[in-house]
């Protein structure tokens, strides 16, 4: 099998990359695109640290073959902030002290963002459910749940376009 060119959009920017067969999306993002915010934790779908959005759906980029990203719209943590303004989730993670070592944080925020994108005013149970595939060793989860709920409240006060 030979390498092939794969085109996708990464955080709004067109990419065309030479991809070897079997290359994982997480490695392509980190090593070929320099998007180091996405973490490679377990590499087998167990920790959620590698969560990115593929066509607005949260996916574990360690389990996605990069070749399958052809024509897709990919969003990583680097694309969460806009015009040098943090996303409400990022603001809330800082305010609620929802990060310690930070290894899980990008995946947590991308998983939470997928939730808020489809359910802007979630109940606590929905937040717990949305984060249940993401492992954190440091925070005890409560500050993360609190941050997601705080971000939802923050977004509710903003004009719709800013979300």
């Amino acid at each position: 099998m030979r390498s092939s060119f794969v085109s996708f959009t990464l955080n709004g920017e067109e990419k065309e990359l030479l991809i070897a067969p079997g290359q994982r999306l997480v490695d392509v993002l980190r090593e070929q695109c320099g998007a180091m915010g996405t973490r490679n934790g377990c590499g087998q779908g167990g920790c959620g640290a590698c969560t990115v959005h593929v066509d607005a759906v949260p996916m574990l980029s360690c389990l996605v073959l990069a070749e399958l990203a052809e024509g897709c719209d990919i969003l990583t943590i680097e694309g969460a902030a806009r015009d040098r303004t943090l996303h409400a989730l990022q603001e809330a993670f800082v305010a609620e002290a929802a990060t310690q070592c930070g290894f899980c944080t990008a995946g947590m925020i991308m998983a939470a963002k997928a939730l808020l994108d489809r359910d802007p005013a979630p109940q606590r149970e929905a937040v717990v459910e949305a984060l249940s595939g993401n492992v954190c060793r440091c925070t005890g989860y409560e500050p993360i749940i609190a941050a997601v709920l705080a971000a939802a409240a923050m977004l509710a006060r903003l004009p719709a376009a800013a979300a």
Partner: protein
């Protein structure tokens, strides 16, 4: 199905630092031409926030804003010696080393500023915001940047400081066994409330309420992070985590995140904590170590709460449903001890 509730209490004394063969850590500080201060350490930030605490301590003693402190950690080939980040020692040992280094660097800074302003260094004060002024004469001042430039380009001097904190080795007294193994002790008390399902053997922790006496909370928000994260980790050790579930037999040991059990966001209790401050004479600004004890104190509290709920005492961790059900079965056959 029967669900039984119980409550358990634990009390913990936790040493800050260890005895070893003596326990030293060093810090070196120097000013750059731009008036930033680089604090060189060999200590590691594991995610607990060591860099933040060390920045606060250095900025406080130097009298400069935290933004102008640069913490350079963890090149053990080239950095000054540090025993490491363990034994809840980092804030205490390295914090004290930084206080010593920053005091020397501050004196060097004020000497240069004094020459520039033609006053004695003892008559100067820092405003913590990047300026050095004559006491009582706020108009007569110089910026830290200009003082750093003058030191480099006019006087040919370094603005720098060396610091070390050594906890000397303590040998036990031959007669009494008395010794001084640590520098101070932090204290904690945790109350755990649990619900035991006697049919499935599952334990749910409903609430963990803790009090921590830690000398001085140098950064209260980060102290709370340690307590909440530690409460979770203690619960995880008490009920979930093991690499050898049938120790010493290695059978059924987990090999990945799917098999290594930890409580997820749906399994967490309500956390509640208060922080008490009784400053330690040897601690930097009175601080003691809080790191590890937060994961220890929940464990006996949860084990005691399980005993309170269903009358069986499990003394091997983690307290799995299997162990609990076997103990309940045994207790039903034999009369309670």
């Amino acid at each position: 199905m029967t669900r039984l509730r119980g409550r358990g209490i634990s009390a913990v004394n936790y040493p800050t630092g260890m005895n070893l063969g003596g326990d030293p850590s060093q810090a070196l500080i120097h000013a750059t031409t731009t008036g930033n201060f680089v604090v060189t350490l060999s200590s590691v930030d594991l995610g607990q926030g060591l860099r933040t605490i060390m920045t606060q301590i250095a900025a406080e003693v130097l009298g400069v804003p935290p933004e102008s402190v640069i913490i350079d950690t963890a090149d053990t080939d080239t950095g000054p010696h540090c025993m490491g980040t363990f034994a809840s020692r980092a804030t205490h040992r390295i914090g004290n080393a930084i206080i010593m280094a920053a005091t020397e660097a501050r004196n060097a800074l004020l000497d240069v500023a004094g020459e520039e302003l033609e006053v004695a260094a003892a008559d100067l004060e820092t405003d913590g915001d990047g300026r050095i002024a004559v006491k009582g004469v706020p108009g007569k001042s110089i910026s830290v940047l200009d003082a750093a430039l003058a030191a480099h380009f006019k006087y040919g001097r370094t603005i720098s400081g060396r610091g070390i904190y050594l906890k000397p080795r303590s040998y036990p007294d031959f007669e009494t066994g008395a010794m001084d193994p640590d520098s101070c002790q932090a204290h904690a008390c945790t109350i755990a409330e649990v619900e035991v399902d006697t049919e499935t053997g599952e334990v749910r922790v409903l609430k963990l309420t803790s009090a921590y006496e830690i000398g001085r909370a140098l950064n209260p928000m980060m102290v709370e992070q340690q307590i909440v994260g530690g409460s979770w980790m203690g619960m995880s050790h008490a009920l979930y985590e093991t690499t050898e579930p049938y120790y010493p037999d290695r059978a059924h040991g987990p090999v990945d995140f799917a098999e290594y059990l930890m409580p997820g966001p749906a399994d967490i209790p309500q956390y509640d904590a208060v922080i008490l401050e009784r400053p330690s004479a040897s601690g930097p600004f009175g601080a003691k170590g809080i790191g590890e004890m937060t994961a220890n104190s929940p464990i006996p509290a949860i084990a005691n709460a399980i005993f309170d709920a269903c009358g069986v005492r499990i003394d091997e961790l983690p307290i799995t449903p299997e162990k609990l059900l076997r103990a309940l079965d045994a207790a039903a056959v034999a009369p309670r001890r």
